[in-house]
Assembly symmetry: C2
DNA sequence: AATGCAGATGCGAATAGTTCGCATCTGCAT
DNA sequence: ATGCAGATGCGAACTATTCGCATCTGCATT
């Protein structure tokens, strides 16, 4: 069990159980958001008894403590979970093969100020996903 | 039954049934996307036997024929449906009262070109929602 | 106007991801 | 080592959406 992870969890007032530490570390490694089920299969490889409800519950705890964000992508019906980093990310989704890749920067931040002025809203967050066809799927053998 | 609507539907090869015409006209009036259930309640007021499965099926037909777009918003678990207009729209969502208001223009279109160059993707679409607290909910009686 | 038929609708059951209730178990303070 | 609050495992419940099938409707044809 990684000491750093335990410390991060404790700092948030989260009891560092085996499942929680493991789940946090899975998420930390990812370059893209994962579904609860994807996490489940990764988790099962290492810890035999790891229940899907538990995964949902742990993820919700992480979301409440602002360690993780939870959202849906337009490619399917499932929630995706992603560890919160210093800079938030947006993703580019391939509509053919469902590949998910991060986009380097966020074009919305500057725009939020204008929106706030126009509407009187206090802006707190935003979602952006861009959909396209990846180089692989464009090729002669791509499925369109 | 509105002649214009019937013509629009026929032009897409959609048989203009009472339910379809009515549903199209409900959507046309809206300034914000509706859920199937919201449409159901509006529809029930006028046409007594109007089934929820039928609404979903009609909406799917409209989506296939590119008359309507279907997507989820971050405020709940439900699909939202919106008639397709010349200019696509994005929405500002109040995280307190779930108000949905349209944003005047789209800051992403110019950005898509850069993304395409950086990644080799052919960009086909994007989603954007901005979340905030509306003027009403900011007030002294707002629920935060 | 009556008829026939492809396709649309109504109804109820099925589906799938997520959440919940409850009994058992675990991490941690003592 | 012990006790207990809170975490987990398991199965059932929940909800938006979809599907299967019997009935009905719009429309072309007569």
């Amino acid at each position: 069990m990684n000491k750093d992870t335990i410390e991060i969890l404790n700092k948030q007032g989260i009891k560092a159980t085996k499942q929680r530490v493991f789940l946090y570390e899975i998420l930390k490694k990812q370059e893209k958001p994962l579904t609860a089920e994807e996490i489940y299969f990764l988790a099962k490889k290492e810890i035999n008894s790891f229940n899907l409800s538990t995964i949902y519950r742990i993820l919700d705890t992480f979301v409440k403590k602002k360690l993780v964000v939870k959202y849906k992508l337009d490619i399917d019906e499932k929630f995706h979970f992603e560890i919160i980093r210093e800079k938030h990310r947006h993703y580019l989704l391939c509509i053919c093969c469902n590949q998910i890749i991060p986009i380097s920067d966020c074009p919305i931040e500057k725009y939020e100020h204008d929106i706030a002025e126009q509407t009187g809203y206090v802006i707190v967050d935003h979602n952006l996903e861009i959909k396209g066809i990846c180089p692989n799927c464009q090729g002669p053998y791509g499925i369109h």
